[in-house]
Symmetry: C2
Subunit: 201 residues, 2 copies
């Protein structure tokens, strides 16, 4: 099975701009990408990075400027089973990813928060992704429409993509890789006073 | 094992006040509680509700006005293995809860978003909870301090407690019980235009 990690190297993590400047967003997003690369390797697979621009990581990188949806659909059409794992799953673990990669089903989906699809496995070349908007329900519907067997993988660690400033708390609490190290080095810590903990700098 | 569901019947879900009025918050929180009661029953256990005021549900209800932390600690001291499951886990499933209840370990924790503890099993009477603030890390530290074996259960469905207006989207996308029915009947739906889906009314 191919394991593909899409990465936006041009203006990554724009929703973090209230908290991190452009250079910091680039560094932090690359730290998360490197964490995800490590996690894929620890499951015994070789990750392939699909990036919108060159990025300096220790893995095979293909540069393609097209949007994610047509790019992934082209790979699915090829017919080789494929896993697509988002580059911002900063608290993913090999155990959680193994549950996805090892699950039965011609379409296996790990839901993300906010109705998204954070990781999926496709073994049916008739299936098509559409990452726009509330993709999780769309993907279940599309899988059923082509008669593919569907499995959901229930994982907090795969459901947690790091998009918005509030998400940084999850990296500080549950992460132990480069992304959490980067945040701590940048001065972030958990502010626990009151009943709503948050990441502060 | 006792399975306890704490419930605040007095001013439930105050963080939802930008979206739901007081009566709606009460109705919605009771719908979530009934969903959690059903899920516990479907695992073959009898839930006990620990409520701050009387609540009309089809289960054993004990009314106790004390804060959650001393209440749960008193139950732990009794020595009977106990599970504490939050009443706002509106997308929990029997399968997810079974992973918690069936896990080995003298302290088994299902992390919640925002550093919380959404469900836990305690089989060591020396352990103490503290639900204040960033409780997840505290609970891991306290478990290790008393020498209890610790397990984490990695579940998106147990990690998703419904606190804030943005969380309603998760109920609409992933729920199939009374809480999602209540939201739909109250006029909520998934607004999918743009890249950030949300629950709108």
């Amino acid at each position: 099975m191919r394991v593909v990690i899409p990465f936006d190297a041009r203006n990554p993590k724009s929703r973090l701009s209230p908290t991190l400047d452009r250079e910091e967003r680039r560094d932090f997003s690359e730290a998360m990408l490197r964490d995800v690369i490590d996690v894929v390797r620890e499951t015994g697979r070789s990750p392939e990075i699909l990036s919108t621009a060159p990025v300096d990581v220790d893995a095979t990188v293909s540069v393609d400027e097209r949007p994610l949806t047509p790019l992934v659909n082209e790979l699915i059409e090829d017919g080789t089973p494929i896993a697509v794992v988002m580059a911002d799953l900063a608290i993913a673990t090999p155990l959680a990813l193994d549950r996805l990669l090892g699950a039965d089903g011609n379409v296996v989906v790990a839901p993300g928060r906010e109705a998204g699809t954070n990781a999926l496995v496709v073994r049916d070349p008739a299936f098509r992704v559409d990452y726009h908007g509330a993709s999780f329900r769309d993907h279940l519907d599309r899988a059923r429409a082509v008669g593919a067997s569907v499995r959901e993988v229930d994982s907090f660690r795969l459901a947690t993509d790091i998009d918005a400033p509030a998400d940084l708390l999850e990296v500080l609490v549950h992460g132990d890789g480069r992304a959490s190290q980067w945040l701590r080095a940048a001065g972030f810590r958990v502010h626990s006073e009151g009943d709503e903990p948050r990441a502060v700098r």
